[in-house]
């Protein structure tokens, strides 16, 4: 695969965009909701405590799973679209 192939360049850019978006969500649920923004969303009750606590102990883990499967699914489609998938 040559580095100057137009398709290859766009494939890589699409991958970077997808990674960037995923990492924003990754940071938002863990460092955001679960830690830094917890006081801001403290008013939302969840089972005897607040939403930030839930994100810290369970919500962020569930989000991580969704993020990885979403990434794998989208990337496998990108592979095919740009013709860089394995036979």
């Amino acid at each position: 695969m040559s580095g100057h192939d137009y398709d290859a360049v766009n494939y890589w850019k699409a991958n970077l965009r997808l990674i960037f978006g995923s990492l924003i969500v990754w940071a938002l649920v863990s460092y955001g909701f679960a830690i830094l923004l917890r006081p801001m969303i403290a008013g939302i009750p969840v089972g005897g405590t607040d939403l930030g606590f839930w994100f810290a102990q369970q919500g962020s883990i569930l989000t991580f799973i969704v993020l990885i499967f979403h990434y794998a699914w989208r990337m496998n489609r990108l592979d095919e679209k740009f013709g860089v998938h394995e036979e």
């Binding site: 695969m1 830690i35 830094l36 810290a56």
Partner: protein, 588 residues
């Protein structure tokens, strides 16, 4: 049936299974030995990663840490799972495409430098050896508690079992035993948790029970727990933390460290295709989450159970009399992991938080100090006894704890031995070695690594408790940035990468040693390890994330000041980015 016989049946049965797998999955080539022939299904690999990753620390210690720290220790839950997002998106697919056997091999090829490869080998060995000591020690403890044998003898039994399947089967044997070990450990962890959740909340799913109503009081479980422990002078379980910078950095260090630990990364080399490496990450996290979503429930419920055991009539009434303590307290007292001292000679057990703010109330009640010390590591192991579950559940917990320790130890030992046989012996000393010769070298390295790990597990250095911080700090500050830049930047060259790895490493080690003692030798620390002394409130455990930033910054600066990498290296970077043409993991 006697509990000892039941434990023996469960542990012996699981060990027989592992050895049976070893005989079935014998490695015939270096490809079998290093990457299980590269033909592992992503779901199988996900389960193997789960067992590889979840160590004695996850199985035994984590729930206890959360029970003691409440919200503040959520860092372990997020840190030890969030790293998989980084792995699945930033490292695993590209390293699988690169298609070689070891992590240092990628660093050596990408940075066209045998010295870079050597630095990576050293980082790998230090991080993995420190990690494996804890696993071996954990296996020894589990043996001595459940099989009533001497811890050293237990350790030797465990080492012989690992020897059988790891030396014979290499990655191939380890993969299939890890899948079996995952099944054992997840069943062992979940069953007691389900029963406890039903007893306390009526909800059979512990992760949901934790956020539902405590049947007895009619209050939400966490509200009830907060009430009980604040009555006794403890902080609220769900209380927020003040030092958020440190909490963020500690979580980040665990995440980056997780993604940079070689024994996890090499598991991604065993799947057939790049797409499978991506799926593997997701499956791995599902298998890990089954335990990690249950752990906080185990933590909060066990904490509440402990408190209501000691204060059966509520916190306002007198605590339980020492002579009426339940059987499980008696049994754990024998091990010294529960200690009682009747400070005010009233024959009762006063368990409370001995802090100045609670002094007045304690005095009014005639209490003269906290009288019960419970080692937090026993929480998961004692869970079935606390919930009055039948003997076979205790046997299952014993087999589960051993499965967690052995599976992680085997993965670490494989990472160490392949770095020695492939990166040092074949890479540096004798590049002309035949496949058969290398396979023999790999087996001998594995055997030596097991002997060393067993010795260190039986005689853990005094700093054993400190070294996990070291493993994550090193992985985060040295390996992860070098791997990531190797894929995402064509500009970072050999000089930049080596300068970056060394400065990240030295910076991280220096910060840890200033507070923990140089090379962990007691008394050589320059500053006491207390929050007041930490720079900007950053604990030595959290410094790996800053070390990673130092690594990135130095690598980019040095690279930009020196020449571009050769054109064939830029083409190599280009090629790992596109899945087409991956083929099996190879030697050439």
């Amino acid at each position: 049936m006697d509990q000892f016989i039941i434990n023996l049946l469960f542990v012996g049965g699981s060990f027989a299974l592992y050895i049976g797998i070893a005989i079935w999955a014998k490695a015939g080539s270096t490809s079998d030995f290093y990457v299980a022939g590269g033909g592992i299904h992503p779901i199988t690999n996900g389960a193997a990663i789960g067992a590889d990753w979840m160590s004695a620390a996850s199985f035994i210690s984590m729930a206890g840490l959360i029970a003691a720290g409440g919200y503040a220790n959520s860092t372990f839950l997020m840190g030890w799972t969030g790293g998989y997002v980084l792995l699945a998106m930033l490292l695993a697919p590209y390293l699988r495409k690169f298609g070689k056997f070891t992590v240092p091999e990628f660093i050596g090829d990408r940075y066209y430098s045998q010295n870079a490869r050597l630095v990576a080998v050293i980082c790998l060995i230090v991080a993995s050896v420190t990690y494996v000591i804890g696993q071996m020690a954990g296996a020894g403890v589990a043996f001595s508690r459940f099989l009533e044998v001497d811890a050293t003898l237990g350790l030797i039994i465990a080492a012989v079992v690992i020897f059988l399947y790891a030396v014979m089967g290499g990655m191939k044997g380890i993969t299939y035993t890890q899948v079996a070990q995952y099944c054992v450990l997840i069943v062992a962890y979940t069953i007691p948790a389900v029963f406890i959740s039903i007893q306390l909340t009526g909800n059979p799913i512990p992760g949901l029970g934790m956020f539902s109503t405590h049947t007895e009081s009619g209050l939400p479980l966490l509200t009830k727990l907060n009430q009980v422990i604040t009555d006794l002078g403890f902080n609220e379980y769900t209380a927020d933390v003040d030092n958020k910078l440190n909490m963020v950095l500690f979580t980040l260090t665990l995440m980056i460290g997780t993604a940079g630990l070689p024994h996890v990364i090499i598991r991604f080399f065993t799947v057939p295709k790049v797409a499978d490496a991506r799926w593997s990450g997701g499956w791995a996290l599902i298998f890990i989450a089954l335990l990690y979503l249950t752990a906080p429930a185990v933590a909060s419920m066990a904490r509440l159970n402990l408190m209501t055991t000691i204060y059966p009539d509520g916190t306002a009434a007198a605590p339980i009399e020492y002579d009426e303590r339940p059987q499980w307290v008696r049994e754990w007292e024998v091990t010294g992991l529960i200690q009682y001292e009747d400070k005010n000679n009233d024959g009762r057990i006063q368990l409370y938080n001995d802090v100045p703010s609670f002094e007045e109330e304690a005095e009014a009640r005639g209490w003269e100090g906290n009288e019960l010390v419970v080692n937090r590591d026993i929480l998961v192991l004692a869970n079935p006894e606390i919930a009055n579950l039948p003997g076979w559940v205790i046997g299952l917990i014993a087999a589960g704890g051993l499965a967690a320790a052995l599976s992680t130890a085997a993965g670490l030992l494989l990472a160490i031995s392949s770095a020695i046989s492939h990166d040092l012996i074949k890479g540096r000393i004798n590049p002309a070695i035949s496949d058969k010769g290398e396979l023999l070298a790999a087996r001998i390295s594995m055997a030596v690594a097991i002997v060393v790990a067993t010795y260190l597990g039986a005689n853990p250095p005094g700093f054993a408790a400190q070294v996990v911080a070291l493993a994550f700090g090193i992985a985060a500050a040295s390996l992860f940035p070098a791997l990531m830049m190797g894929i995402f930047s064509k500009r970072v060259n050999n000089k930049g990468a080596i300068a970056g790895m060394l400065s990240g490493l030295v910076f991280t080690l220096a910060y840890i040693f200033v507070y923990k003692g140089w090379l962990f030798i007691p008394g050589t620390n320059n500053l006491a390890d207390i929050p007041e002394n930490w720079v900007l409130g950053i604990s030595p455990l959290s410094i790996g994330a800053i070390g990673a930033i130092v690594n990135f910054a130095v690598a980019f600066t040095v690279s930009n000041a020196t020449e571009e990498p050769p054109i064939e290296i830029q083409e190599l970077v280009e090629s790992v980015r596109y899945p087409r043409g991956a083929g099996g993991a190879t030697d050439h």
